[in-house]
């Protein structure tokens, strides 16, 4: 593996990760604070045989990368909250047609235009549930510039392995922060499985994932966002076909949670346990460096599907302390899987939690008895 060390911001590292992963088509629309990803791709792709296109809006961006994916390329777009809202329509189409795509959301303060230049984690539930109907997706959350590179590579592999939209749910802090980063040029690539002759285009293999019928390879298939049978043809009247299709598309991800899970479990015997992802992970790590061996920490590199079994690692937990840059979105998910009291530490406005704020949460957690307690900073 050849590696170049550089000092880059997270957005540029993300673009470099995409290129290392073999992404050769990017469609995007300018939006703060994600624009550096598009700018880097615009500069880099034409020189390596790829294509960059600036679309008219984010609806078009996702449409174009879905088209590009069916034409055989690894494809990506990047945006932030307002653009992410526009993408929801075609995210559902990608889920229904099982199209591998990677969408980066460099989160900023919302709702609406909100705080364009400030970090937030307010789109975590939108990412999971934002398009209509039942479906499942995979979402990753980097907490360093190196992880912006590494998890972007991983996002492409997961998208192809599971034939699903995969989200890199980062934020303005990680996107604009500069750190040392190792850019590997020879990363592991797990390609999508091409449809075999005689296989139906929407019939699942033993993992619940159909072979991919790349356009132009002679498969002559029909792909539709309508409910469809295993031959790919619309079949909108049958309850059985619909239920079979939707359940299979959800299960191909949810049944493989343990394969997908990517977490750090630190001090599993601790009684007070932090759960974090993305930028707040950095503050938790600082606190644990300042005050070693007391607290537990569950760091989520993959947030969706939620790694519920990881909670069981903390056998002695008396409280889960969950700092998020939203009003407690992932804390709700944690609550579904545990009776351990939860201390939510929401912070809005763009600044990271400070170690002192987390210490305040610790004091609350020491005596907590209610199922959910909110710490007001």
């Amino acid at each position: 593996m050849t590696t170049k060390t550089d000092f880059l911001n997270g957005n540029v590292a993300c673009a470099e990760g995409a290129i290392a992963a073999g992404c050769r088509f990017f469609a995007g629309y300018p939006i703060t604070p994600s624009t550096e990803i598009a700018e880097r791709m615009a500069a880099r792709l034409p020189k390596i045989g790829g294509t960059f296109v600036q679309m008219e809006d984010e609806l078009g961006s996702v449409a174009a990368i879905i088209g590009g994916s069916w034409a055989g390329a690894r494809t990506m777009t990047a945006t932030s909250g307002p653009g992410f809202s526009l993408m929801m329509e075609n995210i559902g189409y990608a889920a229904m047609t099982e199209t591998p795509i990677v969408i980066v959301n460099v989160q900023r303060g919302g709702p609406s235009t909100g705080q364009p230049t400030k970090a937030a984690q307010g789109d975590m539930l939108q990412c999971r549930y934002g398009s209509h109907g039942d479906y499942s997706i995979i979402a990753l959350s980097p907490s360093s510039v190196q992880e912006m590179f590494d998890l972007t590579v991983k996002a492409f592999n997961l998208a192809d392995r599971f034939r699903t939209p995969v989200f890199l749910m980062t934020d303005e802090t990680i996107g604009h922060m500069r750190e040392k980063v190792n850019l590997h040029s020879d990363v592991e690539i797990i390609p999508r499985r091409e449809l075999k002759e005689g296989e139906l285009p929407c019939a699942p293999d033993e993992n619940g994932v159909p072979g991919f019928a790349t356009f132009g390879n002679g498969h002559n298939i029909h792909i539709t966002g309508l409910t469809h049978g295993e031959n790919g043809y619309p079949s909108t009247d049958s309850a059985e076909v619909h239920e079979h299709l939707v359940r299979r598309q959800v299960r191909k991800i949810e049944d493989f949670r343990n394969e997908i899970t990517d977490v750090d479990v630190i001090n599993p015997d601790a009684e007070l346990v932090f759960i974090s992802y993305g930028a707040p992970t950095r503050t938790v790590r600082q606190l644990m460096a300042d005050v070693p061996d007391i607290y537990g920490h569950l760091n989520l590199r993959i947030v969706w599907p939620f790694p519920d079994e990881s909670l069981l690692a903390f056998r002695n937990a008396k409280a889960f302390i969950i700092p998020e840059m939203n009003l407690g979105q992932i804390a709700k998910e944690v609550r579904q899987y545990t009776n351990v009291p939860i201390v939510i530490v929401p912070k809005l406005g763009g600044a990271l939690h400070t170690p002192e704020e987390l210490k305040k949460a610790v004091e609350v957690a020491k005596t907590v008895t209610k199922p959910v307690t909110e710490v007001c900073l």
Binding site: A27, E56, A64, G67, S69, W70, Y93, A213, G216, Y233
Partner: protein, 264 residues
Amino acid sequence: MNLEDWYRQDRLPHIYCPGCGNGTVLNCTLRAVQELGFKQEETTFISGIGCSSRASGYTSSDSLHTTHGRALAFATGVKLVKPHQHVLVFTGDGDCSAIGGNHFIHACRRNIDLTVVCINNSIYGMTGGQGSPCTPYGAITTTTPYGMHEQPFDLCKLADAAGANYVARWTSFHVKELTEAIRVGFEVQGLSFIEVMTQCPTSFGSKNKMRLATQMIDMFRENAVLKVKADRDAAAGKSLEPGKFIVGEFVRRHNPPLGVEESK
């Protein structure tokens, strides 16, 4: 390949209503493709949502039936990744000019090498006959029960102004001219826009005193004015009579296209 081989035979019969013009347009399209001698694996059909957009499901090569109004954006991705593919987009008046209006003008502006066949039946057929941006002034639809009181788009003028390299309009009566226009559309590099006025006797004709498909086709034949004649009349100071519309080739030019192998 024979013409029949371009049809996805196991999907027939189609879902279109009796008397619908969409089958005629599909037939002209596949005839043009067959005449050009394209290979199946080099040809992709993409469509949005609506009656028009079901056409991609009846073609035998790779096809992508997408979301409402977005077919051109999906096609942009396919074409930019595989510039050697012949990519044809089926769309309708509502799909192309209402919900997809922005994608339409930007696909024309980019002049991306797609052939776009817009089946204009003046109505939202799939949802049961609501007014569209191309419903003629005064026409009755389920959402304009007192007559359409907004002006319609001229899609060909729109495509021309936005930068498409080839723009033509024909009707479901003009099958030979339509087939030829689609063939030329494939040959001209850049965006080719072919508008086809078609009959929807079920949802449009029935509310506008043209219950029979033949009445609507007769109307097209009587009201279509060839562009050469319209130009001659205009030069003589005669304007188009009310209810008449121009058919023919409006634009054929060679501005730099996007999504062709040579320019990549």
